[in-house]
């Protein structure tokens, strides 16, 4: 019965969308189906940090700013902005004539409502608020101008405004229907509007013919929640899903070998590496750390295990990240030198090196096994210890209970090295269980409030070089964002993060 109702509702909406298409100039046609790993459970922007939400949210909602597939910032619902008062005030000019999916107008009121809600009692219950604590208040100047007052300058705020919690929500709709209803019946200004949602099954959207930007080219957009990637690929092969995100490396040959499908990839923000326990054991010695890094042939690992779908890194950021220095080179692969360093440091052959990893990432698991094999060749005995995710992230790493090496993977969606480096290397931070370096702390603190972009970049590069020199980690690779796409999909541009706006994509029937 439920299904029946849902289907009739969908038919009705398609009919409506069809009628809307007649009046607008562009004809939207066809249905695009995308697989998403997880159902976030709520479509309210302030409720979640899940990448899955980000993928869907960018098509339902808009932020004041927008980040394109090259990770460059563009005007979104704000047409322009000025950073004033040494960075503690930002004035936004808002786009005029934009309407929410329910017909409600977008204006300064909506922006203020969105941030009052995020920073107020409702936001306090959710996780997103933590990302926007630099915002003190939003002041309405006129209907289409707002001022953001900040507690302190926040160099990453403009990027953060492009996604997640900063997506603009409709004040009247939420006031009328209530918070709960909004969670499962979202309304935004984005290129697609809500049609139906069946928890754990799918979310269906329809083209928003009044969208302020490029009008969507497909009339229906469906997100299906498929947790197992192998299942998602099977669906892709069966032609029941058009786009699969985060394609596992192990399945690349399958997708490539299928005449109906394409693999598309682009440099992504996610980085992987192994960090050292710099406090105890043999890895407290910088030369031992150096030897361990030099013992591992990272280039070969990328070429063979990762099918070339990754890039070598020298610091904990991808080449897209602000603060990345292409001049900084990783330590070379040199097992002879590594053996010598180990010998000089007095490390006995056969010394045990424990590598702690998170269970459940088959690709990284393979990489670590290969790392272990390389360590074997220089006379170290690698013992790999997998932990369940939550245990690893809460009880092992932050408590400083790791082995000599431990996995560090970082999403890095803000694409700014500060966000990573501060949390990974500043004393007392959750992800820095071992180090305490006054000089490094000072460097990290110095760049934070800086509004001079060029100067901040120089400082960030300096931080990366300092860390590389002290060999605090074995940087391994930045993984490309890899998509499996049906060839009937046209105009799809792989994005570094999963937040792809699908309004420029069309499908061949």
């Amino acid at each position: 019965m439920k299904r029946f109702l849902k289907n009739t509702a969908a038919v009705a909406v398609i009919a409506l969308a069809g009628m809307g298409a007649f009046s607008s100039s562009s004809m939207a046609a066809g249905k695009l189906s995308v697989s998403v790993a997880l159902d976030p459970g709520s479509w309210d922007p302030i409720d979640t940090f899940l990448v899955a939400w980000g993928a869907v949210g960018s098509n339902l909602f808009d932020g004041l700013t927008e980040r394109d597939t090259n990770a460059k910032l563009h005007p979104g619902l704000a047409t322009s902005w000025d950073v004033l008062d040494d960075g503690v005030r930002i004035r936004f000019k808002l786009r005029e004539g934009v309407k929410f999916h329910n017909g409600e107008p977008f204006n300064a009121e909506a922006v203020k409502f969105t941030f009052d809600r995020l920073l107020g009692d409702i936001g306090a219950k959710g996780p997103q608020r933590a990302n926007y604590t630099s915002v003190k208040s939003v002041e309405i100047i006129d209907d289409y101008t707002v001022d953001f007052h900040l507690h302190q300058p926040d160099p990453v705020l403009l990027t953060k405004l492009a996604g997640y919690g900063a997506m603009i929500v409709p004040p009247k709709y939420i006031a009328e229907k209530g918070e709960d209803y909004f969670n499962t019946h979202p309304v935004g200004t984005g290129p697609f509007s809500f049609v139906s949602y069946e928890p754990k099954v799918d979310l269906e959207l329809a083209a928003n013919a009044d969208y302020w930007g490029d009008k969507p080219k497909v009339s229906e957009l469906e997100y299906r929640f498929i947790s197992e990637l192998t299942t998602a690929v099977a669906e892709l092969q069966a032609g029941r899903v058009d786009i699969v995100e985060d394609l596992p490396i192990s399945m690349l040959p399958v997708v490539k070998g299928d005449g109906k499908l394409d693999v598309m990839s682009t440099t992504g923000p996610a980085v992987y590496g192994l960090r050292f326990n710099t406090r105890d054991g043999i890895t407290a010695d910088v030369n031992v750390r150096k030897a361990i890094v030099m013992a591992v042939d990272r280039a070969t690992i990328i070429k063979s295990l990762l099918a070339g779908e990754a890039e070598e890194i020298a610091s904990f950021q991808s080449s897209l990240s602000f603060g990345n220095d292409p001049e900084l080179k990783p330590l070379p692969y040199n097992p002879e030198e590594a053996k010598k360093l180990l010998k000089d440091a007095g490390v006995a052959p056969g010394a045990e090196v424990q590598i702690d990893i998170r269970a459940g990432n088959p690709t990284f698991n393979e990489v670590v096994q290969a790392v272990g094999a390389y360590l074997q060749t220089v006379g170290l005995k690698a013992v790999i210890k997998p932990y369940e995710n939550s245990v690893f992230l809460n009880d092992i790493v932050p408590q400083g209970k790791t082995g000599a090496l431990f996995q560090q993977s970082w999403g890095g969606w803000t694409l700014d090295y500060d966000n990573t480096a501060y949390l990974l290397y500043h004393t007392g931070q959750k992800w820095n269980p071992y180090g305490s370096d006054e000089k490094l702390n000072a460097m990290l603190e110095e760049q934070r409030p800086m509004t001079d972009v060029a100067k901040r970049e120089v400082l960030l590069k300096g931080i990366a070089a300092y860390i590389a020199n002290d060999v605090l980690e074995m940087p391994l690779y930045s993984l490309k964002a890899i998509y499996g796409v049906n060839k009937r999909v046209e105009g799809f541009v792989p994005a570094p993060d999963n937040r792809i706006k699908l309004n420029t994509v069309s499908v061949k029937e």
Partner: protein, 282 residues
């Protein structure tokens, strides 16, 4: 009756032969894994990843994504599967038989407590709980074994208690008691021998069952940890290579099937011969 029995023993059935051959092969290969594969099962060779089977003599069943030998890993996985299957059953038998004997022999508080416990455990959706718990507590070899013991001892306890209750008032036991034979002697000399048949049948079938459960749990990422070569783990790892390198997951899958089949065949045969009254039948 005695005659037909003899006759049945004299003509080895297909079940027995196939089962015995399969299990002997698997047990022997597990026991002599180190002699068969002196290089070990986790020698990584990135230069010869995913070699197809039957081509090179160094990898008769092919190699996996890290260039490790599939045959050596299947054999090593057998050790883990047998280890889990056998230790968990031994644990469950020890616990179950002891408690069942005490409960059946002495009745009283132990018996009452045990029966309450059995009632509860039988009312619980145990497999479901097992999966929940192991998902919560995290999977490991030890957790898997403990879980299997906890879920199965009740079967033995019930079986033994029932048998003891049926026997304890029989004349030969009463007579032994009357002449002052110690309790433990009665148990060891008169009760245990009568229990071995059904218990061994149940054990054989449970080893098979546990091997299947362990591989399911490991496949879901809840069993033994992924660095230990286990059949379930190999299937999970090989799953995404199924279309491009079938041998990575097909051989461990076959290994599970053949082992479980062998044990089931043996158990089935034994049920006919060691437990003719069918106490263990379903």
């Amino acid at each position: 009756m005695a005659e037909t029995r003899k006759k049945r023993f004299a003509r080895p059935s297909m079940e027995l032969v196939v089962g015995a051959v399969l299990i002997t092969l698997i047990v022997l290969s597990a026991l002599f894994a180190h002699q068969l594969f002196p290089e070990g099962f986790d020698r990584i060779d990135l230069m010869s990843r995913l070699t197809p089977p039957f081509l090179k003599s160094i990898h008769p069943l092919g190699s996996d994504p890290l260039g490790r030998d599939v045959l050596a890993r299947v054999v090593a996985g057998g050790r883990i599967s047998l280890l889990v299957g056998i230790t968990s059953v031994i644990g469950a038998v020890t616990l179950g038989v002891t408690i069942g004997l005490i409960a059946g022999f002495y009745r009283g508080v132990t018996d009452m407590l045990m029966m309450r416990f059995v009632d509860i455990q039988l009312a619980l959706p145990f497999i479901l709980l097992a999966i929940t718990f192991i998902a919560i507590l995290g999977g490991s070899l030890l957790n898997t074994i403990i879980l299997l013991i906890v879920s199965q001892w009740v079967q033995y306890a019930r079986l033994v208690r029932g048998q003891v209750l049926a026997l304890r008032d029989r004349e030969f036991i009463l007579a032994a008691r009357a002449i002052g034979v110690k309790d433990w002697r009665i148990i060891v000399q008169h009760l245990l021998p009568n229990l071995t048949g059904p218990v061994i049948v149940l054990m054989t079938l449970n080893v098979a069952n546990n091997i299947l459960l362990e591989s399911s749990l490991t496949f879901l990422g809840l069993g033994v940890d992924p660095t230990i070569p286990s059949w379930g783990g190999m299937l999970a790892e090989g799953r995404s290579y199924l279309q491009t390198a079938w041998w990575v997951s097909v051989f461990p899958g076959l290994a599970i099937m053949l082992t479980v089949l062998g044990l089931n065949l043996l158990g089935d045969w034994m049920r006919d011969h060691l437990d003719p009254t069918g106490k263990t039948s379903i």
